[in-house]
């Protein structure tokens, strides 16, 4: 009987042995990265960093889309000891990046743009230092947090940490409160926008994971009719003359930059939309939520706005 036990043991141990030697990850485009061991020197995009740091994976370098102090994704994260190698979208200090001797670059795949975070030009540069991989900016923040957990676990994170479960519990509580608030306001319609000096950009909820999550929890988010396929794929561009094309009860304004809300409020036709006229305007945590703690905070703000909103201001 000994040979039988030996074979079973061999069969179970072999893949484990192989795993111990190699680290493998398959990205959303189907490309597989294989390294000799789980990498420890990681450069992460701001969004990937926001997904990984709360799970205990600390990159050695981060490239952000804006000055770190203004990067919403990095808000509230401990960045001590992490080198910031970029503070403008699609720009990194390549010498700093190389000096970090990265083993892996972790970004996010944006399917509608067919590009990694920071764009193709940046990816071309970074991929000379180390392989680029990551998860997809998908259709649910909850799903993405799950993807980051899987990635973090493969990189050696201990997901049983009490801080991680506390964050998750806070998120679950905030989500339940949000669902209850929405349920208490039947007929409340909402619109997510970015306000520019030149035009009003209405977000297609299907392109924003957090909006799809909000919708799945009962919020009635309006989808724009004509998403601008020639420009950016995620919004319909409206002249400010047509600011009331989608009259709603609540407007969520992209809060990646604090000036967007100021710009919106400064437009003379902003208040043509009944929600804006009634002051039923709140923050849209646009595209940047990557962890449970941040989602919980954003949901608390949204819950307050929903609870305060009159669901009958729009016809």
């Amino acid at each position: 009987m000994f040979w039988k036990t030996a074979i079973v043991a061999a069969l179970t141990l072999l893949p484990a042995a192989a795993q111990a030697e190699h680290w493998t990850f398959t990205d959303p485009t189907g490309q597989t990265v294989t390294l000799d061991a789980a990498p420890t020197r990681i450069i992460a995009s701001q969004d990937a960093a926001a997904g990984l740091i709360p799970l205990g994976i600390r990159p050695v370098g981060i490239y952000a889309d804006s000055p770190v102090a203004e990067a919403k994704a990095l808000e509230g994260l401990d960045l001590s000891g992490i080198e910031i190698i970029g503070q403008t979208w699609s720009e990194v200090d390549i010498e700093k990046a190389a000096a970090l001797e990265p083993e892996l670059i972790i970004a996010e795949w944006w399917d509608r743009n067919a590009a990694w975070s920071g764009g193709q030009d940046l990816t071309a540069i970074l991929s000379q230092l180390a392989p680029v991989t990551g998860i997809a900016a998908s259709e649910s923040i909850v799903g993405m947090i799950g993807d980051y957990e899987a990635l973090a676990a493969s990189l050696g994170a201990d997901l049983g940490e009490s801080k991680i479960s506390a964050d998750k519990a806070a998120f679950e509580a905030a989500r339940a409160a949000f669902e209850a608030a929405v349920r208490a306001k039947p007929g409340l319609s909402a619109l997510a926008v970015y306000a520019g000096e030149d035009a009003l950009y209405v977000a297609d909820p299907a392109g924003a994971a957090e909006l799809l999550d909000l919708r799945s929890w009962g919020l009635e988010l309006v989808s724009p009719e004509g998403v601008d396929a020639t420009g950016n794929n995620y919004f319909e561009t409206l002249s400010w003359e047509n600011a009331d094309k989608y009259p709603v009860d609540l407007i969520l304004v992209d809060n990646r930059s604090a000036t967007t809300m100021q710009t919106a409020l400064a437009q003379p036709t902003w208040t043509l939309n009944p929600a804006a006229a009634a002051g039923q305007v709140t923050d849209w945590p646009a595209f940047w939520i990557r962890n449970s703690a941040a989602f919980a905070r954003a949901l608390e703000t949204l819950t307050v706005a929903v609870e305060a909103a009159d669901p009958d201001v729009a016809p």
Partner: protein
Amino acid sequence: MHLVVPSRGNRAARLFAGLLLLSVSVVAVAVLSLAVGARPIPIEVVWQALTQFDTANAEHHIVWDLRMPRTLVGVLVGVALGLAGAVLQGATRNPLADPSILGIHAGAALAVVLGIAFFGFTQLSGYVWLAFGGAGAAMFVVYSVASLGREGATPVKLALAGAAVTAVLYSIINAILLTSTRTLDEIRFWQVGSLAGRSIDIVLQVAPFLVVGALLAFACARLLDGLAMGDEVARALGQRIAMTRALSGLAAVVLAGGSTAAAGPIAFVGLTVPHMARAITGPSYRWILPYAMLMAPILLLGADVVGRVVSPPGGVQVGIVTALIGAPFFIALVRRRKLASL
């Protein structure tokens, strides 16, 4: 039988009739600008908005809050650019003079770039004062440099100093923009020149300056006629040339600075329109100035309306349209007349 002889009075009457026609055209283009936009609003509703404003009517708000300020900015900026170009061409006796050649645009652009890059300006209303200050400072530097030496600020020295200062300022601008993508993103819409998104506040901010500048410009008309005969002749006629140049330079800075503050640096209008006016009126600045003042807003607002129509919903920026229209116009003018004889 009367012999019909073309007389001085007859010519003046014809030119005066032309001015009336241009005034009517300015009003017509302004009405067009109120009637045309991304949102189709019937002309009778536009009229209603103007005559019986109803606060509850969204379309009335669009006419008053969006199209009216935009139209007013277009008229004011057009008037300012036409006058500034004509005054500069007369004062420097340079057929290519326009607000960009004396460093006015570059100065305004540098001030706005510095404001965005280092002082966190992000709103149009903040750019107004920056642009104004920058335009004035640049013109002051250009004038000071050109005044060095015995013969004072001659036309050639003004043009050379303007070109040199412009080159220096643009190299600083580019150095900042190359290292700060954020600033580039903010500035690129402003830098082309646009009438979009201008509120009534901007009209009120720049209007007093433009009125003062226009009055100054008209006060210079006679003096510019003297300068046109050459510095020596003007001096022999008893004109104080340096004074004339300083006064007309001040008028140009106030006008061009104000227009740049309101709409960004708009190309070609200030350059082309005075030549179009000169082709009709002949060499007297007493006619060139009012003609240029009325023709420029027609070109500018017309270009803005065209921009709104050809590319909804955002529209093409007026600076691009005026460059597209202005450049061939200018080539045609150059081929038709000898421009060098200012």
